[in-house]
Subunit: 350 residues, 2 copies
């Protein structure tokens, strides 16, 4: 029996709706297995700007520091996207949170579900059996380098990586590969970028410590093709922040819906779990948002707590919903279910 | 009747084979239409390093300056890729050539050919009718910023864009959109990068000058999904150097083979034409390389010379080869033709 404190950042757009269903599932797990999960709801993103002027209020950050884990819905609002020069933006909250919590590794599993093969834009035979795990560096690179304008009106963004930043996530990726199919692919642009050459050097230096892992190197432009042409070739992918943002979202098309893909961000202390989809404001409040990505993020959270059986139970419940077609409209246009119905159905299976 | 001087940089790997077929087609055009094309073969890439120690010898650069156009095969050799710290690399030649010739816009059309719909990893109904034109900035951004190592062993790459660099390619993209379906999509990461915010500003400022063009903005991670989920939504895509490298290679999967996609790089003076595929060293000398991408690059070259009928003739000849299945093994596994046979067949149709 465990007792854990979870800070919940429901965020913007569909964030609150999908979090609600995920917590419903977590409650079902608590009840069935006799655990205690305490939720502390805090503001982040556009809702936090509206309420406090700050996308990451100090109370939110403090709550995250003191939690056993953080569950995040989604953040972002189009009113900021169309005004690139807005001084305060929701994304700043997320980026600052990642940095403050030291969440240097974002881990995204991409799986092709058999019952959904026909929903992918890719041909079923190309994707059937896909099972990859993407390690995206999350607190370095061009996201966090110096940026600004020069006197002549030019703009700049600086990308930097230290050996330590690369080594710590590379070790996690090597370790994951050891427990999986023993294959690690570093995605970089070492034929052009100095930072990529450092990534290659560090990974090459670590490789002898993990003799059971075969290491491949792929330029990011080639990787962007290979992920679509032959996704089954990948086991663990390791890459830097910006490339990871692009490649992991791209890989999400394999699953057939962005609404299916969870992620975990880990680092020095508390870990954070979130669906990879965004705040999808057009869908907010309509009951059409798919809660499964957030529910599977909860499964990753349970695993992180060492609750493997509980995590498996949640995944099996999701499989049941997939199998029974209890799904939101993007996956079941003929007999669509609402966000709430999908969440309740999955919670009921737990 | 035209007389033109073309510098040919056949390059490495399959470069020489595909160039040979493209020149065969160009010769057929010259004969049929009574033009004169003079070819000046020069070294660039790994072959130039082997011969001179320099991936872009001065003689090559001078020849390009004095040419009416440049035709490039492909460059690159795996012996350099696995040694990220090699001080001299083939890619440096290509990057220096782009910069020296001021080739700031790389233009890549992506088309789904009806007869090849079954060869794409994407479902036919998703891609049928796809017709997009990607404008990738080619002489700025993180490719050409300062890069190096600091005392503590960190690596850095600086990304910079000036208003002028953005404006000149944006104007080309707007103009192209005006002659097409009137839709321009800027792909950036304006929620994180300062350079992207400048791209958005400049494009927003130019938009009123092109009232017939509707402008959309897409974050690069979302674009990486949309290109696969719904490629037909795109008309003209405009983006910076690094994002363009990734997104245009990704989009190439739509066509069913990387061996089909041409590109033109234009700028202040002489223009350069090249297939988007690389040097594919594993295939070199085997007669399996698809020459069509280079042949279609020649069609773009003819168009650039104002020879529209000639360009159409080449494209029609390619369509005939596609229709008749006179194709290299990746597109016709049952009755494969060699590089040479495909080239000759297309030249014969001219
Ligand atoms: C919202 C944005 C800043 C963020 C990122 O680019 O990291 C998002 O796309 C993600 O992948 O979590
Ligand atoms: C070879 C490499 C430097 C080049 C690039 O990244 O620009 C290539 O991938 C391309 O797209 O032409």
């Amino acid at each position: 029996v465990l007792s854990k404190k979870i800070t919940v950042l429901a965020g913007d757009g569909i964030g609150p709706e999908v979090c609600r269903e995920a917590l419903k599932v977590l409650d079902a797990v608590a009840e069935r297995f006799g655990h205690e999960f305490e939720y502390d709801h805090q503001l982040m993103g556009a809702c936090a700007i509206d309420a406090t002027g700050n996308p990451l209020p100090d109370a939110t950050l403090q709550a995250c520091y003191h939690a056993d884990a953080v569950l995040l819905g989604a953040i972002g609002d189009p009113k900021y996207d169309n005004d690139p020069s807005a001084p305060v933006r929701p994304e700043q909250g997320l980026l600052r949170l990642r940095k403050s919590l030291g969440l240097f590794a974002n881990i995204r599993p991409v799986t092709a579900y058999d019952v959904l093969l026909d929903h992918s834009p890719l041909r079923a035979e190309r994707i059937q059996g896909t099972d990859m795990l993407i390690f995206r560096e999350l607190t370095g690179g061009i996201y966090f380098g110096q940026k600004g304008r020069t006197e002549d009106g030019s703009a700049y963004d600086h990308c930097t990586y230290s050996r330590e930043e690369i080594e710590r996530i590379a070790r996690l990726a090597f370790q994951a590969a050891e427990t999986r199919r023993g294959h690690l692919t570093l995605v970089d642009k070492a034929n052009v970028l100095e930072t990529s050459r450092l990534w290659r050097e560090v990974v090459q230096q670590l490789a002898p410590e993990y003799p059971a892992v075969q290491v491949d190197y792929l330029f990011v432009d080639n990787a962007a093709m290979q992920v679509i042409l032959n996704p089954k070739q990948f086991d663990v992918i390791l890459t830097e922040n910006m490339f990871g943002d692009i490649i992991s979202d791209e890989a999400s098309v394999i699953a057939g819906s962005l609404g299916l893909l969870p992620s975990a961000s880990v680092g020095s202390s508390v870990a954070l779990f979130e669906p990879i989809h965004g705040s999808y404001p057009q869908a907010a409040g309509k009951g059409i948002a798919n809660p499964i990505a957030t529910i599977l993020s909860v499964a990753m959270l349970l695993e992180h707590f060492g609750l493997l059986q509980e995590a498996d139970t949640v995944r099996a419940a999701v499989q049941k919903a997939l199998h029974d077609g209890v799904l939101t409209p993007e996956l079941n246009a003929d007999q669509p279910h609402t966000t709430e119905q999908v969440g309740s159905y999955i919670a009921f299976q737990v």
